[in-house]
Symmetry: C2
Subunit: 138 residues, 2 copies
């Protein structure tokens, strides 16, 4: 429960409670995006609804972003630094591995510019690629 973690929350104007610190700590450890159920399994001492609301709060404050990857469940992952108060700039792509069922953020792969018809006003994009991830490919 380092001072570091607390400061991350405080910087985003989120009250650093015990549960929230645990959730943040867990998020930092992940290589892939997580679901509410993942969180519930890990932090079984906290109520599902509390964890749900924690994720909601984190998202509103720009700490995490949500990803609908085409499966039934919503995934969550830490934002890059540029995100603030729900103004997410997660124009990067997400990669869903059909083998291990994990969803990875690939922040280095920008979504290419689209040739949209002039009469469409683009605000944001979400690109989910599906295939086999590097770990499963080995």
């Amino acid at each position: 429960m380092s001072m570091e973690l607390e400061n991350v929350l405080i910087a985003k104007q989120v009250n650093p409670t015990a549960v929230r610190l645990l959730v943040l700590e867990y998020l930092l450890k992940q290589k892939a995006a997580i679901s509410l159920s993942d969180l519930e399994t890990e932090l079984h001492r906290a109520d599902r609804v509390t964890l749900y609301r924690t994720l909601k709060t984190f998202e509103e404050k720009g700490i995490i972003h949500t990803i609908k990857d085409g499966t039934e469940v919503t995934k969550y992952a830490l934002c890059q630094d540029e995100c603030n108060n729900g103004l997410h700039s997660d124009m990067h792509i997400h990669f869903y591995c059909t083998n291990c069922k994990e969803l990875y953020c690939l922040p280095k792969v920008q979504i290419p510019k689209l040739n949209l018809p002039d009469d469409f006003n683009l605000q944001e994009m979400s690109l989910v690629a599906r295939g086999i991830c590097k770990n499963c490919k080995k």
Copy 2:
């Protein structure tokens, strides 16, 4: 209930029942993708489950494709000609209008090639753009 419609189903090896013809007819009229609820509202004389299974069948036979647009509900739209028996080639993008909440297929806008790390094996992609559609922009 034209012969045309029947032939579309027969060509895709789908038994042209009354409900299926109505569903196909409805799909052909749409400019945007539809949800099961939309269908239910339109064809209230058919059971929800029947409509659900009709959409499933259509998808398996390559008549329509499903789109997860980031909202809670699955959307359905007619395939281009190239789709067959669930082998969909819908690499085009979808545009979700945040104003009218409609989801449009933009078959002419191909998804650009991505610069994925070598160790990821790409199988398919889904790109949903969000913004204001041409009708709402006026």
